[in-house]
Symmetry: C2
Subunit: 555 residues, 2 copies
């Protein structure tokens, strides 16, 4: 089969004005970026239509190095729904340059189930990540300047919590000391960089209702604490307006198209391991305002992206999926069942059977939110009929709907079975009202304990001294009533990236706690997860090239 980029290149794109017209958006409402991308103003959200639209969440089993294909299924299902005559739009996150040039590659789907133009989407796109990076670092520079200019006037901070961000995998920037070489060059400070998808500005953008709400949240960002233990915010710095100005375009969702010329909304891109992992509320609502079925995705496994989708995004927005789809692949299941990576393409029913425990745990978890759950079995070329049947029978025996997805190789035609199952299931037994894992009024520790035990299957939770200090700081403030956003490895239910399958009887270790007062959640850093990734020995950047005007090496 052709590479993703070769397939992308072989498809003649429809003008974005025509794509917009498909969902009733006229030329004068959109802001073009070339002929095939546009921004659509969030003012086109229609809450009445949002209430009538069917939202579908796509999530997955715990990811492995063997790949699952969640984005491919999300796009494929959208192709399939359109194929059977439904008006469906996919609402996805934007890719980050970090993984794109690092290990993971891009995030625009694969095969014949992609969003296009994939090169632009995977590169600078419409500049949203750059705007977020600028806004974040502008705050950093203005904060440091404030402290520097007022250093002799007793206006310092006891503790600075705000760091910087870059949309690059750069381990060297995790921990730095800035402001070196004397008085003219700032105040020496221990600080560091996170990757842009972990920026609080990214979270704020994705959770804001509108530009006024964005401003309100930016003003609330806590940059540090004064010597009187008072929070020092962006509002105190007096620069919220200039940060809003930097984000005035980024707040509007981006419109592109699928490989079969269906509208696709791609907006916001927090990672699901180190951040809340969902596209923007604005984008989901904009899609729902213009389609009967909206397929959206939450990052990594259902323990990460889906848990935060429900407990953070749905809680804050009132959105509720009619259905949750868990994507599973034979290869992924076999890895969870203890099969070594080099043997992953060989039939192994025993391994597959063992691995299904991972799927089953995710199904139970999703049902705990009141969701109707079905499984999309993402078919790879190496899967044997016995393996496919084994997974199908396993699900059916439990009363869980399952369909095979072949959109990667066959486009929308390969997802008709899945699309029909989705429509029928939503018709016959849509999800119950949402039931969250914890209450707003629970303490932070109770919230962590509930997610750790109920979703991850942990036996207990431990806190580092740093984390305990932060708990103390939060105690008794409004921050205590925010949802939590757990940063944890994507490779396991536990905080140990090597514990495949279903980890049991483990203790979750909270190493750090980060207050995101503007995003209105509390980041719980569990285990050795880094909010700034590193690069592998041979990064993808070594394979990306421009030859005869065509880009190679993006996927």
């Amino acid at each position: 089969m052709k590479t993703d980029i070769a397939i992308a290149r072989s498809i003649e794109l429809d003008k974005i004005t025509n794509i917009a017209a498909q969902i009733g958006i006229t030329d004068d409402h959109i802001h073009n970026y070339g002929k095939f991308m546009a921004k659509v103003p969030y003012s086109l959200i229609d809450e009445q239509k949002v209430a009538q639209s069917n939202l579908i969440l796509v999530t997955a089993i715990t990811p492995t190095k063997a790949g699952i294909g969640k984005t491919t299924v999300s796009i494929g299902l959208t192709l399939g729904l359109n194929k059977i005559g439904k008006k469906a739009v996919v609402a996805l996150r934007e890719p980050s340059l970090g993984p794109c040039f690092g290990m993971k590659g891009g995030a625009a789907g694969g095969g014949y189930a992609q969003v296009l133009p994939m090169e632009d989407i995977n590169l600078h796109f419409t500049g949203d990540f750059h705007a977020i990076t600028s806004a974040h670092n502008m705050i950093s520079a203005l904060l440091d300047n404030y402290l520097y200019q007022n250093r002799s006037e007793g206006k310092g901070l006891k503790e600075i919590l705000w760091k910087r961000v870059l949309d690059i995998n750069d381990r060297s920037l995790r921990y730095i000391v800035s402001g070196l070489r004397g008085n003219a060059n700032g105040i020496p400070t221990e600080t560091g960089f996170d990757i842009t998808p972990a920026s609080e500005i990214m979270a704020i953008l994705c959770l804001s209702k509108n530009i006024e709400d964005l401003r309100r949240r930016i003003e609330k960002i806590i940059l540090g604490y004064t010597y009187e233990n008072e929070p020092f915010t962006v509002k105190d710095l007096g620069i919220a307006g200039s940060i809003v100005v930097l984000l005035k375009d980024a707040i509007n969702p981006n419109l592109v198209q699928t490989t079969e010329h269906n509208p696709a909304i791609v907006h916001g891109g927090p990672f699901a391991n180190i951040a809340h992992g969902c596209n923007s509320i604005i984008a989901t609502k904009l899609a729902m305002s213009h389609a009967d079925y909206v397929v959206t995705e939450a990052g990594f496994g259902a323990d990460l992206g889906a848990e935060k989708f429900f407990n953070i995004k749905c809680r804050k927005s009132g959105l509720a999926p009619k259905l949750t789809i868990i994507v599973a692949s034979a290869q992924g299941l076999k890895m969870h069942g203890g099969v070594a990576q080099e043997d992953i393409k060989k039939e192994n029913l025993e391994g597959l059977k063992n691995g299904l425990a991972n799927l089953d745990k995710h199904i139970l978890n999703m049902q705990s939110f009141g969701q109707t759950v079905i499984v999309a079995f993402n078919k790879y070329g190496t899967d044997t009929p016995s393996e496919t049947d084994f997974v199908i029978n396993h699900c059916k025996s439990q009363g869980i709907g399952i369909a095979v997805n072949k959109a990667y190789s066959d486009g929308g035609e390969g997802a008709v079975e899945l699309a029909n199952l989705v429509v029928d299931t939503i018709e016959a037994r849509p999800s119950d009202e949402l039931s969250f894992t914890y209450n707003n009024t629970d303490s932070i520790e109770t919230k962590v304990e509930k997610v750790a035990k109920r979703i991850y299957g942990a036996a207990s939770v431990e806190y580092s001294a740093t984390a305990r200090k932060m708990l103390k700081l939060i105690e008794g403030t409004e921050i205590e009533h925010y949802p939590i956003c757990i940063a944890k490895t994507q490779y396991s239910f536990s905080d140990d990236p090597k514990a495949y399958g279903v980890a049991k009887d483990f203790s979750l270790t909270v190493n750090d706690i980060v207050i995101n007062n503007g995003a209105e959640f509390v980041v719980i850093v569990a285990g050795p997860i880094m909010r700034m990734p590193g690069l592998p020995k041979v990064p993808q950047a070594n394979h990306i090239d421009l030859a005869d005007g065509l880009i190679e090496g993006l996927s």
Copy 2:
């Protein structure tokens, strides 16, 4: 008079497709960014037309805190030329977010002589600076990763020359130590950030002929030196292709419009104090391919921008202006004549007379390149008739053409006198063939000495130990034959920002030398200039805001 942004907002913009059509560029050639901005592919450069077009350089006396208005004159002249029936296009640099949110404000002209939409041009524009920032820092991350991954295999570097960049004024990032907190987080390294306009990638983008030339130059970038004293380049790192991919759109010039709907090309933005200070060669040539008169600008005073325009940009591109215009204002001249800033708006003919020495030195300097020189007297509301007459008579008595520019208050109508003088002067006595200040074959020290003595008026040049070490490293290599790019304060002919007027008998101190092997020039850092600016006590960011959907505080 209204503020710049109020004027900008009061003008109904013409669609960018109509602007493009004015110069014969059709819809299918351009890449829209909204309705009023577009990228134009550099493939539309026509060298035959470039050879026939009249290039006009706009430069200025030494800038002061009182302002000169060089960009306003460049745009105003273009308005005036169009007003008298000439086909004229202005080719400018893109503004940086650093000064825009810091002290200087934006860089899109002023009053009724602006390029529009000024808000977007002054903010993220079409993302060129962000692409450059990403490309630069991607190299940094890939270099650090290479050193980290191979740390036990003896592939280290004795010296790392490559730093990072951000398009923000942030003094705290000038000197940092990265890679702290143990083995998992990189190798501890003394490094720092420059501002994006000082990035070698910015210089490369502005000096490249095409994408192949861009690639050749990126491969040549020297990142450091091995223990065998061999240069270690981007090519050695094997990632040039991925960096070219990040710059594939940024290499194409941006098309916008003036306040009177004339086409304007805005592309590239190196500062003239800490970098080479000119817009891109590609943009200038694209403008010349589509207009009989092209007005371009070099940053800050003629000792900085214009010197580099001739000795670097013209030398490398073969471009040669028919005319050089030096912009002067009564307020600026009075400051050079010793008048205190608080008295600058009062008539003071004695101060004005003393200040004219600064103008005269710049005129002589520009003539040393073989240029025909005229003066644009940029009229401010507070100038008295006696002051204006004094400057006019001074120039005329020396045979230097001079015209008063009132484009700031009157638009193109206010620049008709200047436009007529420009056309007549180019007709009657265009510039001679270019004569450079130094030869390629001169040593670096000779080049520095020639610029310092002939252009700045220095008596001697001194080198720090660091600079001497770099001279030694360069000696005998091809690098010795590159032009030099002197980084120096914009406020004086000398390296002392307080020495107004015409500094004399001073010694220029070279503190550092930076090899830009990809840009093919050598940066000479003279005096206490910083390649990463700081912010003032109350930055412009404190005044920028979004109110009722309208931006305030940009100028």
